[in-house]
């Protein structure tokens, strides 16, 4: 199925859970946060939350970035 991940179209297997997605991307769970269709997915929901066709996901983490305003 097709989803939007971090702003980019991506094809992923059906019935994929959030945890499945993260593992397929081999992203360590700690220190990331996931937003599914503008709703935050709690860590304890990663395993039970299934991604649907057309869903939009954001997976974010901490990056270099400074004092005020410095993106």
């Amino acid at each position: 199925m097709n989803i939007t991940l971090n702003g980019e179209k991506k094809e992923v297997p059906d019935n994929l859970t959030v945890i499945g997605l993260l593992e397929s991307l081999n992203i360590q769970h700690p220190r990331v946060a996931v937003e599914l269709n503008l709703e935050i997915v709690k860590k304890d929901g990663y395993a039970t939350t299934t991604i649907q066709e057309g869903d939009s996901l954001e997976v974010v983490s901490f990056m270099a970035g400074g004092a005020a305003g410095i993106a």
Partner: protein, 259 residues
């Protein structure tokens, strides 16, 4: 001054110099600068994980969250909505409830949008975050932010990255008279004497990034800033001599700030 602790929302901060992680050559330089600065508070941005390039290193492999307090910021947000979303995601990432809230009002000067910042702060405080807001040096806005539950306020000294230093010590003084929470000067300082002066004014801490990362020798400047904060804080506590036109003048010049 082992008893001179900075405590915000029951969190104890060892250092009064807080630093950013932007604009460095690489993570190795970032790490060395942070170590040289002697800080225990590092602010980081919240960004999309790089999906394509998995090899890409992670900042937190260099800055150990066990060793440093991580202060996520909402840098780059131009609306309350985006700042709220970013701050909530930062909290969900599970390292800290602290957030340095920024809502930028102008891309050119990076001045904060005070109104939108207040609006976002209201929501985030309700959500249980510890909100440290970046604002202009406006005593009224500082009071409103404290009234809605911000445990500290972070007024700018001067525009971000300008290096101008404390442009309006008078407003900082008035803010300190108006609210009784820690004041952390955020952005605008350029050199060691600027941070020393901020501390001498009675500010509780200084957060900076460009002044270190943009210096010709960031590691040396990081160390310089460490000493600037230590010296300024000690001088503030030590109680300086009054200013006089000359030593035998009868009355002190009381306009210590800015004069």
């Amino acid at each position: 001054m082992t008893d001179d602790k900075l405590i915000i929302a029951e969190i104890e901060f060892k250092s009064r110099l807080w630093v950013g992680t932007g604009k460095y050559k690489d993570f190795a330089e970032t790490k060395r600068a942070i170590e040289a600065s002697g800080t225990d508070v590092v602010t980081v941005s919240v960004r999309r994980v790089n999906i394509i390039d998995k090899s890409k290193e992670n900042l937190l492999d260099y800055i150990d969250p066990k060793k440093y307090k991580i202060l996520p910021n909402t840098a780059g947000c131009f609306t309350a909505k985006d700042a709220i979303r970013t701050a909530m995601l930062a909290a969900e990432a599970g390292i800290t409830k602290l957030v340095k809230l920024e809502v930028i009002g102008d891309e050119k000067t990076l001045f904060p949008d005070n109104e939108a910042t207040l609006e976002a702060a209201k929501v985030l405080v309700k959500e249980g975050l510890i909100v440290l807001p970046y604002v202009s040096d406006d005593p009224i806005m500082a009071r409103k932010l404290v009234e809605i539950g911000c445990p500290a306020v972070m007024p700018l000294a001067a525009p971000i990255g300008s290096g101008l230093g404390i442009r309006n010590p008078y407003n900082l003084r008035i803010i300190m008279e108006t609210v009784k929470v820690p004041i952390i000067v955020d952005a605008g300082v350029g050199t060691a004497s600027d941070v020393a002066f901020a501390m001498e004014l009675g500010c509780d801490a200084v957060l900076l990034n460009t002044a270190i990362a943009g210096a010709k020798d960031p590691i040396a400047m990081a160390e310089a800033m460490k000493y600037g904060v230590l010296g300024g804080r000690l001088a503030y506590k030590a109680g300086r001599i009054p200013k006089k036109l000359y030593a035998t003048a009868s009355s002190p010049i009381e306009g210590m700030i800015g004069s």
